[in-house]
């Protein structure tokens, strides 16, 4: 079955009185990789499980391709899932794990084994067919789980925080492999994570969830550069939140006064007056005290190898700063000037 699109129409899921997902609508295009991103308890995993059919919505409609699958049980949906814990069957060999879905749907063992071997080759895992899952490393288990889901050639492939059990180094490698696989095979993939850098790295589009509703949906660059509110700004990477005063001076341009600083940036349709402003830590430059009108005092300093992290007290509030000049660290108590690069300063629409 070719990759299919997914559509949610006003889907709600209640557990007793509590709404885990509260009226969510979105469309995921076929052959795209979409990430559901949000803090724990925001409803992202519930959405994933409703796509799989492991939970049925309280109200609303779910479509996969053209078909309404709202009431169709999981076993009858053309959807596969890679679980956070991998959920490999501990009593079955690697080959039996991957063949399981095929034999359940009535294929012979020989047929199933053949397809399973080719799926294992697709994920780059050969020669381990007869091992039991407990005899594999974490990365290998991950690959088996992906192969097991892939072998059914599902219309939709789901990943539930697939990298959370891997160490940092392996995580990057696996996430690149998943993206590569998705592009190569033209799969529709929905991917749940709470790690924004993972989401930014792999996604065509990201759906940011907060408190059971969608906070913002868009391409990765869009979400990072133009967050709709302070929650999205804060969740998509670090952000210092300060207050500033906006003055519009044209169709799109505006000026923000931040204490003694004045910065030109798009006003994004926000009315004049006092507003919230998000400042990315990497957009802040620390210069000589006399080189900037905004003075600051270094309160904390941490050496991270490739960058320095500072907390600087200023007139507009304490600012968290990521600074590239590792060779000339600033001491705690040093007086500095604070300069801002316009690309990392974002006017937040009032919520």
């Amino acid at each position: 079955m070719p990759a299919a699109s997914i559509e949610f129409q006003n889907v709600r899921k209640l557990y007793g009185e509590v709404a885990a997902v509260n009226g969510v609508s979105f469309t995921i295009a076929a052959r795209s990789l979409v990430t559901l991103l949000g803090p724990s308890g925001c409803g992202k995993t519930t959405i994933l499980r409703m796509i799989a059919g492991l939970e049925l919505p309280t109200s609303g409609t779910i479509r996969i391709g053209e078909a309404d699958v709202t009431r169709i049980p999981a076993a009858e949906r053309d959807v596969s899932m890679v679980f956070q814990s991998y959920a490999l069957f501990p009593h079955m060999s690697v080959l039996d794990n991957v063949s399981y879905g095929l034999t359940v749907s009535g294929q012979t063992r020989a047929q199933a084994h053949e397809k399973a071997r080719s799926a294992l080759a697709t994920v780059g895992l050969t020669g381990l067919d007869q091992r039991l899952p407990s005899e594999l490393s974490g990365g290998q288990q991950q690959r088996v789980a992906v192969a097991r889901a892939l072998v059914l050639e599902p219309a939709v492939l789901l990943f539930d925080e697939p990298l959370s059990n891997l160490d940092a180094r392996l995580r990057r490698q696996m996430r690149e492999e998943i993206r590569d696989l998705q592009q190569r095979l033209g799969l529709t993939v929905v991917y749940v994570t709470h790690d924004q850098s993972e989401a930014l790295a792999v996604s065509d589009r990201i759906i940011v969830m907060d408190k059971a509703v969608i906070a913002q949906e868009g391409a990765p660059r869009e979400l990072y550069a133009q967050p709709k509110d302070s929650f999205v700004a804060g969740f998509m990477g670090e952000a210092n939140r300060v207050r500033g005063t906006l003055r519009r001076n044209g169709a799109t341009d505006g000026t923000i006064a931040l204490g003694p600083l004045s910065i030109a940036l798009p006003h994004r349709g926000i009315a004049d007056g006092e507003i919230d402003v998000a400042i990315r830590p990497e957009a802040i430059d620390l210069v000589a005290a006399e080189a900037s009108p905004l003075a600051g005092t270094v309160r904390k300093a941490a050496y991270l190898g490739n960058t320095m992290e500072y907390t600087v007290d200023t007139a507009i509030g304490p600012l968290f700063v990521i600074h590239g000049r590792v060779d000339r660290p600033l001491a705690v108590g040093a007086s500095v000037g604070v300069a801002l690069a316009p690309h990392g300063v974002i006017a937040i629409p009032p919520g």
Binding site: L54, P73, A74, F83, A87, V104, P133, S134
Partner: protein, 738 residues
């Protein structure tokens, strides 16, 4: 694929077979002997459609009409929701009507006169339900479940829906209905009419609640006897169990393995072994009395018979169970807690009193309540050693089988006993509900358990070692007793008792099982072997539904499957007699009633073992299986069951062993045709034929050990790679066996 027409067609076929082909009513002989085939038009053996058309039992016709309506739903073009709704309606209607007609119309027409007055008279009545009726009602229940699944209940899984409906219906029929029936009997007077005064008179009688013994006159009521015995027994068992548990975990006692073996003993011990052992030592012709008479000329007394004897036997029998509960708790007290106390300058005594003991308190409460429940439900020891000392379980027995034959009285006593048991059961669940093993964190605990303070250690040894020795002596007596002529008079070694019970003659015409015990022996094995897999299957299935599925009414479902655990065996026995002696469900005197009784009494253990095992299996395994296209049944068979082998073994062993050793419920349900080993033994004991009784007990122990080995061998181990295969923890299953 998703319209479920296959499932509908299957269950329609089952229902049609039940309605059109096989006999509707129960036959004298088993329906599977096919003796009915030549007479299948006869009044007794006809299927339902013939009963309705030619034998005047028109009230069966609507069932056929409903089944015919199901056939219409097989039309291919039908909308899914319409079909599902129709199935729900027809299934529910058929199910309800089936029981309505069953309970409304008895052998002689309308059961209730009020119904008879309002409705037209019937031509003849009906008998107990047979195979046809069972198939039809099963079909209606399952069609109802298929409909529910089609509407999206139970996540659309027809297997899960069907299982829930099936287990719930069975529990209602075989647990709730008998309990309801016993309540009903208690409020009926002698002529079967509702009468609160009769109930009041029975309930408040001096015989139950009298306090004569306190002021030194006559005897006390049986309710007080039961309670006093249970309290003493629970106190004794808990103290002894604690002493053993402390020795096993907090001393360098060398024979700890031996202590562990003690925990398995009560599980494979037939109910009379300890009582018989005590009689052989303390009885009139027992060793002690013999010695006293020989040495000092003291006339042998009957002092072992009475409360003290029953208490002694119960404490011997149930201490291992208390030990089993307590060892888990004592081991669960994290050594780091005690080490923390010691680094805070507490000495060993203070550590023990201030830290260890309080942490064990919930476990002590649990052990106390479990021993309490065991004691009030016990039947074997009081009947053997009680003498004039009556308790509720034996009084119930005598009300039914004795000269009194007063079912109302039996029912009333049963209710009192049931209330005691339920109160203790709920108290125990509350204790367990609060975090018992508070110090058992998920984190790895290193460190060694603190050694006991010297005084406590000496006390524990002082209590436990003599007791353990006595236990060994009792079991030894119980074995030796089978090999001597007559205990107390003639100690000549003999195989006479074994020959009498288990003689086999090899004649030219074949082998003759000449021994007197063979009949009950084979019956016991046969029924236990039938009941055990069914019990395990039902228990594991219920556990699967409780832990792996979510559905409305799950709490009630769990309560239902666990309830029979709290009901003492004698109460079950009486309630089964009351409930299943008359149509529509007329199965007393058959093997079915015994099997059903075994299944529903022992199922809770399977549920528990299954739930404990399943809680260790990651739920995403099921979900992975589901997203890979497997339905509930496939997942259960290919993923869960292979991982559940240890629990399966435990459930199979337990249900087999319990079926062999149980006496309290079956004593009401056995018949001449189906006599069980335990009831045979008790009859030998009543006749004073101790030799045969003891010989039989020894054979049963061997039989059960063989069965345990066989089950382990048949089910096999699970393979999980490097991880060691989990051995079945038989011992933990025995806990809480009421």
């Amino acid at each position: 694929m998703t319209d479920r027409r296959g499932a509908v067609a299957f269950w329609l076929a089952v229902g049609a077979a039940g309605f059109l082909v096989v006999p509707w009513y129960a036959l004298q002989d088993s329906v599977f002997t096919l003796g009915w085939v030549p007479h299948f038009t006869a009044k007794e053996a006809a299927p339902a459609w013939l009963q309705a058309t030619t034998h005047g039992r028109v009230w069966l016709a609507p069932l056929g009409a409903l089944l015919a309506a199901v056939a219409l739903l097989l039309a291919p073009g039908l909308a899914r929701t319409l079909r599902a709704n129709a199935l729900i309606a027809i299934g529910a209607a058929g199910f309800a009507y089936f029981f309505a007609q069953g309970f409304a119309i008895g052998p002689t027409g309308w059961y209730l006169d009020t119904l008879g007055a309002a409705l037209p008279p019937l031509t003849g009545g009906q008998y107990g339900m047979g195979l046809g009726a069972v198939l039809v009602v099963a079909a209606f229940a399952m069609l109802f479940a298929v409909g529910l699944a089609g509407r999206g209940f139970f996540k659309g899984d027809a297997f899960v829906a069907g299982s829930v409906v099936a287990v719930a219906s069975l529990v209602v029929v075989f647990t709730f209905f008998p309990v309801f029936r016993i309540l009903l009997s208690a409020v009926e007077d002698a002529s079967g009419l509702f009468s609160l005064p009769a109930f009041h008179a029975r309930l408040t009688t001096e015989k139950i609640w009298g306090l004569g013994c306190v002021v030194g006159q006559t005897r006390c009521g049986v309710a007080w006897n039961t309670l006093a015995l249970a309290l003493l027994c629970a106190t004794g068992c808990t103290s002894l169990g604690l002493a053993f548990a402390l020795i096993a975990t907090r001393t360098d006692f060398r024979q700890k393995k031996l202590l562990r073996f003690l925990t398995v003993l009560p599980i494979i011990t037939p109910p009379f072994v300890i009582g018989l052992g005590l009689i052989l030592i303390f009885g009139r012709s027992g060793l002690i009395n013999q010695f006293l008479e020989f040495a000092f000329g003291i006339q042998p007394g009957r002092w072992i018979y009475g409360m003290q004897g029953v208490l002694l036997a119960q404490v011997f029998a149930f201490t291992p169970i208390a030990f089993l509960v307590l060892i888990g708790v004592v081991e669960g007290v994290s050594p780091s807690m005690e080490e923390a106390a010691q680094t805070l300058r507490a000495n060993r005594w203070r550590t023990f009193v201030d830290v260890s003991l309080p942490l064990m308190r919930p476990g002590l409460a649990n052990a106390f309540l479990i021993s309490f429940i065991e004691s009030i439900a016990d039947f074997g020891n009081p009947i053997l050693l009680g003498g004039n000392f009556g308790v509720l379980s034996t009084e119930i027995f005598f009300s039914v089988v004795g000269a009194q034959l007063d079912q109302g009285r039996a029912a009333t006593l049963g209710i009192v006993l049931l209330l005691f048991a339920l109160a203790a059961f709920f108290a125990q669940r509350r204790v367990l509900g609060r975090k018992v093993y508070t110090s058992l964190a998920g984190k790895g605990d290193s460190g060694l358990p603190t050694q006991l303070p010297d005084g406590v250690r000496r006390l524990c040894y002082g209590i436990a070692i003599p007791w353990a020795t006595l236990t060994v002596v009792i079991y030894a007596m119980a074995v030796v007793g089978g090999f001597v002529e007559t205990w107390g008079r003639d100690y000549t070694p003999t195989l006479r008792h074994y020959v009498k019970a288990f003689a086999i003659e090899f004649t030219p015409n074949g082998v003759i099982w000449a021994g007197a015990a063979w009949n009950s022996f084979w019956t016991t094995i046969k029924l236990a072997a039938i009941a055990s897999p069914l019990t395990a299957a039902l228990g594991i299935l219920s556990a699967y539904l409780l832990t792996r599925q979510k559905f409305v009414g799950q709490g009630a479902f769990e309560f239902g499957t666990m309830l029979s655990f709290a009901i003492p065996g004698t109460v079950i026995g009486v309630s089964y007699i009351l409930a299943f002696n008359i149509p529509p469900i007329e199965i007393t005197g058959t093997a079915i009633v015994l099997i059903v009784c075994f299944i529903f009494r022992n199922m809770p253990v399977g549920v528990r073992a299954g739930m404990a095992a399943m809680s260790q299996i990651d739920k995403s395994l099921d979900e992975a299986s589901t997203t890979l296209g497997a339905r509930g049944f496939t997942t259960l068979r290919r993923v869960i069951l292979p991982l559940l082998k240890p629990a399966l073994v435990a459930a199979l062993i337990y249900s087999f062993v319990r079926a062999v050793t149980t006496v309290s419920a079956v004593i009401f349900l056995v018949s001449a045709e189906y006599e069980m080993a335990t009831t045979y033994i008790i009859n030998r004991v009543i006749n004073g034929d101790y030799g045969v009784a003891i010989a039989y007990c020894s054979v049963l122990i061997v039989l059960m050990l063989a069965a345990i080995w066989l089950i382990n061998y048949l089910v096999g181990e699970r393979k999980l790679g490097r991880r060691a295969a989990g051995a079945p923890r038989l011992a933990t299953i025995g806990r809480n066996a009421a």
